[in-house]
């Protein structure tokens, strides 16, 4: 088993290993095996397409958490010509689970805020596995208000298992920090585009997720609770996480169908981690388009439309 591949990705891993092996073997050899490599590559593509054609919700949940999945700063690195990270909430600390800063995309200055996970053990711990504490949300709020003051559109990237459930976080008002952001984002006088790039974990995700457009990458998820958490509460068993993932309807196409998400951004064959650069370029194109659209709307109208969108969420009868 290759640990960088999920179990259902193993056939892909094996084919890739074969391709590599052949290329290695052919190095410096007289005979030509280009044809064989090309054949294998074609097979790899077909196999990948086959696997990804019929993914279930649980597999998509795993993809959204894939260890090789691009994170906020990976996208920022490709889509921005310039980026200056800004730190701290000015009250308590700098939370590395949320990053934010000033960026320039195709010549246009923007404010960027996103959850950030770590790659290796050390950075995972430093980033707290992408689970923000109140100071993270308050840093985000500070940057949002700065965006408003300087007339910069706000782009947010969502990728968190959830807000951190710890003693210190409770002491410093995790609930209030999240609630405050929801209120302020509803009212922020600048265009906001939110994109779920990985895990959209409940209130911890929504706290930087209120805006004029909400996008989801094809294999990202967005849910009120993790499938594991839902299973242990409603089924009284963590083993039912697969069933919970299905029941929660947390995938991008499903949420788009329900009218809760505006746009699903297609991922490269095999998922964003198979080709982060092409994913970033695709994402950038969507964001630029949306910024153009939103930039053409006068501020009072923008806020009115944002309110109406938020107002329309819900399914009930009278």
């Amino acid at each position: 088993m290759n640990p960088n591949f999920l179990d259902f990705e193993q056939p892909i891993a094996e084919l890739e290993a074969k391709v590599e092996e052949l290329r290695h073997a052919s190095y410096g050899q007289a005979f030509n095996i280009d044809e064989e490599v090309a054949r294998l590559r074609e097979k790899l593509k077909i196999k990948t397409a086959e696997i990804f054609r019929n993914l279930n919700s649980w597999q998509i949940t795993q993809l959204s958490r894939h260890p090789a999945r691009p994170y906020t700063l990976d996208y920022v690195g490709v889509i921005c010509e310039e980026f200056q990270e800004l730190a701290g909430d000015r009250a308590y600390a700098d939370d590395a689970a949320i990053v934010g800063g000033l960026g320039r995309i195709s010549g246009r200055p923007v404010m960027i805020i996103g959850h950030q996970k770590g790659r290796d053990t050390k950075t995972k711990v430093r980033r707290n596995f992408g689970m923000p504490r109140p100071e993270g949300y308050r840093k985000a709020l500070r940057l949002m208000k700065m965006a408003e003051r300087f007339g910069l559109p706000l782009l947010t990237f969502i990728d968190t298992p959830g807000a951190y459930p710890g003693v210190g976080a409770e002491e410093r008002g995790q609930s209030e920090a999240i609630a405050r952001n929801l209120l302020e984002m509803a009212d922020l006088k600048t265009p906001i585009v939110c994109t779920v790039i990985g895990e959209g974990g409940s209130g911890g995700a929504l706290a930087i997720g209120v805006g004029d457009r909400v996008n989801m990458l094809q294999y990202s998820t967005y849910s009120v609770i993790s499938p594991e958490g839902c299973a242990s509460i409603l089924w009284k068993s963590q083993d039912k996480a697969r069933d919970a993932a299905e029941a929660l309807g947390m995938t991008a196409p499903r949420l788009h169908e329900l009218g809760l998400v505006d746009k699903v951004i297609r991922e490269p064959l095999g998922g964003a981690h198979r080709n982060p650069r092409s994913m970033a370029i695709r994402l950038k194109a969507v964001l630029m388009n949306q910024l153009d659209e939103l930039g053409a709307i006068a501020e009072p109208e923008l806020l009115k439309q944002r309110y109406q969108r938020l107002r329309s969420y819900g399914a009930y009868q009278e």
Partner: protein, 290 residues
């Protein structure tokens, strides 16, 4: 059947099994205090707003009783009573969501977990909302979110104050992302109230956690806690699993939140009416004589 049940009327006997709730003392109209263990006469406890006259322990209180006891007698009018949940996802865990709705409606007599009324508080017009905890743990789904939003919009339109009593475990899982979005929706409505300078007081009762605490409950111009109410983002069990240690006594209780600056004050339920009237009186200019 014990001696006490034998001397009770059959009516009192059946009432005891349906209304005693968490009292754990099935003997008719008697209820054991959750605080000091004293055996209390239920009608007297109700007259005392479900607060133990001996130790001051605040027992759970139904949404309807709470709002009726808060507002001026005869002034209350229920709003949007016909709003009912649907099941947009055909959600099914160990039970169907549809069946859970039916059971909760039967148990509580309420259509969903939030009750909204308008009325007067010592003569001042007020929109008041209260969560019914015994309806699926007071969880917030689309109906709760919609009703709260309408309550805020009504308060804004009438320029009358808004108060909300929360008693909730958080978002309703069975409505999945629809529930989560109610956090954004209710907060957006409160943003409008804030901009217009119409006061909103949030009263957090035991318990107020999860998605409700992380939205409408923490956004009061003034945040009030009832004594010893559990208030927090994550539930204590989740935190214990995360940090792998037992939590200190009193963690996430109102007194703890007051100490850490999350709420403005703690108010005994028996003084709530007077205190709210006083606060709204200070926040709102008296209507100018024409």
């Amino acid at each position: 059947m014990n001696w006490l049940q034998k001397i009770m009327t059959p009516r009192a006997r059946t009432q005891s099994t349906t209304t005693a709730g968490k009292g754990k003392v099935p003997e008719g109209v008697w209820e054991k205090c959750g605080g000091c263990g004293a055996v209390l006469y239920r009608p007297e406890l109700e007259r005392n707003l479900m607060v133990c006259p001996k130790c001051g322990h605040h027992h759970p209180m139904g949404a309807r009783e709470r709002l009726l006891s808060l507002l001026d007698e005869g002034s209350t009018q229920e709003l949007w009573a016909s709003l009912e949940p649907t099941d947009p996802l055909k959600f099914r865990d160990s039970k169907k969501y549809r069946d859970r709705i039916v059971a909760a409606q039967k148990k509580t007599g309420e259509k969903d977990a939030l009750l909204v009324v308008n009325g007067r508080l010592k003569g001042r017009p007020l929109v008041a909302a209260a969560f019914e905890f015994s309806y699926m743990g007071g969880s917030m789904g689309s109906v709760v979110g919609e009703k709260f939003t309408r309550a805020a919009e009504r308060a804004l339109a009438d320029r009358s104050a808004l108060v909300c009593f929360s008693a909730t475990g958080g978002a309703r899982m069975q409505e999945a992302l629809f529930s989560l979005m109610q956090m954004a929706k209710t907060s957006a409505a409160l943003a409008r109230m804030r901009d217009a300078g119409v006061p909103y007081v949030s009263v957090m009762t035991n318990p107020t956690t999860g998605g409700v605490s992380a939205s409408l409950a923490m956004l009061g111009d003034i945040n009030i806690g009832e004594p010893k109410a559990l208030i927090g983002f994550a539930g204590p069990r989740v935190i214990e699993q995360t940090v792998r240690e037992t939590l200190p006594e009193g963690f996430q209780r109102s007194e703890f939140l007051l100490e850490h600056g999350a709420i403005d004050l703690i108010v005994d339920r028996r003084e709530m009416r007077d205190k709210l009237a006083e606060l709204f009186g200070l926040l709102m200019k008296a209507p100018r004589a024409a």
